[in-house]
Structure formats: structure tokens, C-alpha cells
Symmetry: C2
């Protein structure tokens, strides 16, 4: 199959950004500027890059954004105080605490401290529970929601399809399963969650219409593990050694792209597939939070 | 295979009740009587029976229990006021609102109004989210937690096993999937959730080590849909017509027991399988809520 089977995450993310900008402008015309507060703890280089990208995009869409940078040695209580202040600060409709957090800080405690109404990352257990129960009034976690949008906007048939999700993390695998198994439009899939404890992952992948790889194992999914024509979504971001590069490392996904792509019906490139969608869904969630604030 | 393959839910439930009684007595010796408040709205005959059974068992285990009976015409606001009062009444560590509720009342609103710390039914979205995220500090919904105990105490191998769950309801199917897919002891299963939108349910059932039937279709699971030796758990309670009975109806499960039992490795009878476990887990949750109250 030709390279015509690529799902262009950058183009789809751009489409969503355009829609978000229209919604942000509609709010602005009613006097409300959507606001998003970032919190970054420590100087992790990747976190600096991620927050910088998100902030830049927010500004492009006329979303107010501010980044709070705390020292790597910050005590958990201090971080929780900042979150409490932002929870009641009406300028900010969304709060994002960038992962990873330093060791002295308990991540679940921090994510649970963000007001569920401002939890645009979708990591609060109340929003996870709403997602699971099919209640549309929460927030969906950005990466699985982005994968869902990729599938919908690429017109991949979902109703009744067999989906295999590789990985059961709280950020992608489990919420992805919850999204796709609901009895709703653009879902109603038969979902299997495959993980490190699975006896025969390849057997499951081979029978799937759609394989979503989010286990964090470099190039785990090989061509002989999919059926011809399967849809393959690569969520993985793994740093591996690469003597030929300047830094000595490179990023690869969970899919052995070169061999899988010719056999797949549709496939996400990596980078340029799922990655751009995460920011798109974050900013869409932020505008939704502002819309809810003005409606309530 | 002989009838020696029955999983005796009544015996296992009794074992759990004995353990719960010991824990309740330990609390009583510290001056704390565990308390459970029931709310029943209207005069649904099945609800009367269920609440009556739960109350009787609570008394046997020296758990304080009180039932509030509201008229079928009760306004939602009145029910919410009662829940608010019980949420702050220190005598009650658990609150159970018996389903079904009359039409004028929105069930999700009501279940979300129960304090998560007293949500011994495990239906609050915060507790569903904690379950999904692997946080052990919530409450598990009683029926899937009961099925889990049946499997554990029958020493059915779970780690790495292939589990097919028939049904994706919020009360059984979805939380059951969440329990069994976790990377924890007595779990780590590869879970597929099969439902009304699934193309080939039989294919999935035939490859499963464990089939958990919770879809509400009378005798859906037939012998030719399981592999020899599979473990079969029947959660279904369906009322069907039966001209030979006095009432003209009878209760049957989701499993065609007579033909499936000889082929199964282990199977729950119905009644006498999953049913008794629900009460056992409810009272265990209530005592856990009281233990948490005394520890905090």
C-alpha cells in the first residue's frame, strides 16, 4: 500500500485548533477570556519543551496562559497551596500540572487536588469515573481523546469494530478502553486491553481491526502481528540509543513503522501522529471549561 | 464433569460474613458500632425483599442499620436532603440508596450526592475513578467485587488468564473489567468486554479461560460457546414467563446452566452463586468505612 495510508495528526490537530479558536472568540465576544494555568516543578528539559509548546499554542488561540515554575525541591504542601489558589482564581478555567513531578511529591495527591471543574488534563479520579460511567460532563484525558478524534475524523469505522489496546496505563490505555467501549456514537467497539501479563499479545493484535499501541516498548508491534488492512495508532514515545545521532539517542514509537506501514490500512506516523493531538485536546478542554463557567 | 464443579456462593459469602463479624466486633470493642443507612423510595416488591435481606444480615453481624422509606412520589430535592443529613450523621458509615428509583428522580445525581466516604455501594464516580486508576482507597462496587472474591477463594488462576466479560453496564461489566485488568495480585488478566455491539461474541467466549456473564439476556451463554474446562460466572437475574409456576414467571440467569455446567471447569449456580456475594461485599464495605472513620 502506498504512503497514502498515513493519518496526518498535524493536519487534524490544526483543524481542531481552528475550531477551538472560533469557540474562544465567541467567548471573548461575551467578555470571557479562556484561561489556562501551567505548573511546572523543576527543570526537566522535556517538560520545559512540552509546556513551552502548549503555552505558545494557547497564545495563538487567544487563550490566556501563565506558567508557574517551582523549584525541583518544592515541598508538596507548597504545590498544593498554589493549586488551591488557582482553583479559586476565576481567570483560569484550566489547570495543568506537568508530569513528571519530583520524588518528594505524590502525583495522585496532586492531580486529585485540582478542582474537577478545572481538570483539563482529565486525570482527576472524578473525571475518570465519569468517563467510565458514560457521563459526558467531565473531561476526557487529552491523549486518548486525541486518538479518538484521529479515528473519527479519518472516518475509521468504530461501531462494532475489534479494538486491541496495548498498555493499561492511567494516562492512555485504561481511559482509551473506557472511551471506545461506551454504547455511544463513534464508539461501541469490542475492546481488549493487552499488557505485560498477557499470554499471547500477537494473537490479539492479529485479530484486531484497530491496534492502539501505548505500552512504552520501542517498536513492539511488528508487521507479522497485524492483519492486512488493520488501522495502527502509535502512541509510544521511547528514547533509544542511536550512535549515529549527535545526542547519541533518538525517539521511536511502539510500532516498527517501516515494516508495519506497508501492511496497515491506516497508520499514524510518529512523530506527526498522536503527538499534536494531545495539545489540541488540552486547549479544546480549556475552552470547554470556560464555556461551562459562563453557562453555570 | 460431575456436580463437583460448582462454586458455592452461599458458603463463600458466609465465610466473608464471619470475617466481617470479627472486624465489626473489633470495632465495637473500641466503642464504635458500624452503621448502615438504607433508603428505599416507593414500594417496589423486589426492592422491599432486597433491603429486608440486607438489613437482616446487617443485624446478624451487629451492624447498626436503619431503613428510610420514602413515598414513590417523593421529589428529588427531598431525597437529596435526606442524603445530606445522613452524609453528616456520624452514626452511619455507609449509605445505600436502593435501585430502582422512580422516574422523577435522576439516579446519577442521587448516587453522586452520597459522600464518597460513605458510598459502600461503590457507585459514586469518584470511587469508580479510583477503581479504574488502581487507587485502593475507594470502595469497589459490591457485585463485581463479589465475583472477584468468588474467583480468588475458589483458587481460580487469574494472573495472565483470558477473561471475557459479557455486558458493559456501570454496575457489573465495566467495573468488573477494571478490577481484573489491574497490574496487581489476584488480577493481571487480559480482559475483553463483549456487548450488544460485538460482531462475534461466541468467538470471544470460546477462547476465554473465564467467562463472566452480566448482560441480562436469559440463558445467552450456551455450551457450544465455551471451551471445555472454562470457568463460568453467571451474574444474570432475568424474569421470564413460566406457565408451570404459580406466579407465571421464573428467574433465570444469563447462562444456559443445564448444558454449560457439564462442560465447564467451574461454574456458579444461579441462585446460590453471585447473589449472596453482593450482600457480603456491601457489609464488608460498611465495616471498612467504619474502620477508616476510626483511623482518620
Amino acid at each position: 500500500m502506498s504512503a497514502g495510508n498515513l493519518i496526518d495528526g498535524r493536519a487534524i490537530a490544526q483543524q481542531i485548533h481552528s475550531e477551538t479558536a472560533v469557540r474562544a472568540a465567541a467567548l471573548a465576544s461575551r467578555g470571557l477570556l479562556p484561561g489556562l494555568a501551567f505548573i511546572r516543578v523543576g527543570e526537566d528539559p522535556a517538560s520545559q519543551v512540552y509546556v513551552g509548546m502548549k503555552e505558545k499554542k494557547a497564545k495563538e488561540l487567544s487563550i490566556l496562559s501563565t506558567t508557574h515554575v517551582l523549584a525541583a525541591s518544592t515541598a508538596q504542601a507548597e504545590l498544593l497551596q498554589l493549586i488551591d489558589r488557582l482553583n479559586i482564581d476565576a481567570r483560569y478555567h484550566g489547570i495543568l500540572v506537568q508530569a513528571p513531578l519530583p520524588r518528594q511529591i505524590d502525583a495522585p495527591t496532586v492531580y486529585s487536588a485540582v478542582s474537577p471543574a478545572k481538570d483539563v488534563d482529565g486525570f482527576h479520579p472524578l473525571n475518570v469515573g465519569k468517563l467510565m460511567m458514560g457521563d459526558p460532563n467531565g473531561f476526557l484525558p487529552c491523549t486518548p481523546a486525541g486518538v479518538h478524534e484521529l479515528l473519527i475524523r479519518s472516518q475509521i469505522p468504530l461501531d462494532g469494530s475489534e479494538v486491541v489496546i496495548l498498555g493499561r496505563g492511567n494516562i492512555v490505555g485504561k481511559p482509551m478502553a473506557a472511551i471506545l467501549m461506551q454504547k455511544t456514537r463513534h464508539a461501541n467497539c469490542t475492546v481488549t486491553v493487552v499488557h505485560s501479563g498477557t499470554r499471547d499479545a500477537a494473537m490479539h493484535c492479529r485479530r484486531a481491526d484497530i491496534v492502539i499501541a501505548a505500552l512504552g516498548v520501542p517498536e513492539f508491534l511488528k508487521a507479522d502481528m497485524i492483519r492486512p488492512g488493520a488501522v495502527v495508532i502509535d502512541v509510544g514515545v521511547n528514547r533509544v540509543s542511536d550512535p549515529s545521532s549527535k545526542t547519541g539517542t533518538k525517539l521511536v514509537g511502539d510500532v516498527a513503522f517501516a515494516e508495519v506501514q506497508p501492511k496497515a490500512g491506516w497508520i499514524t506516523p510518529n512523530p506527526g501522529g498522536v503527538g499534536p493531538m494531545t495539545i489540541a485536546m488540552l486547549l479544546a478542554n480549556t475552552v470547554r471549561a470556560a464555556e461551562r463557567a459562563i453557562e453555570s
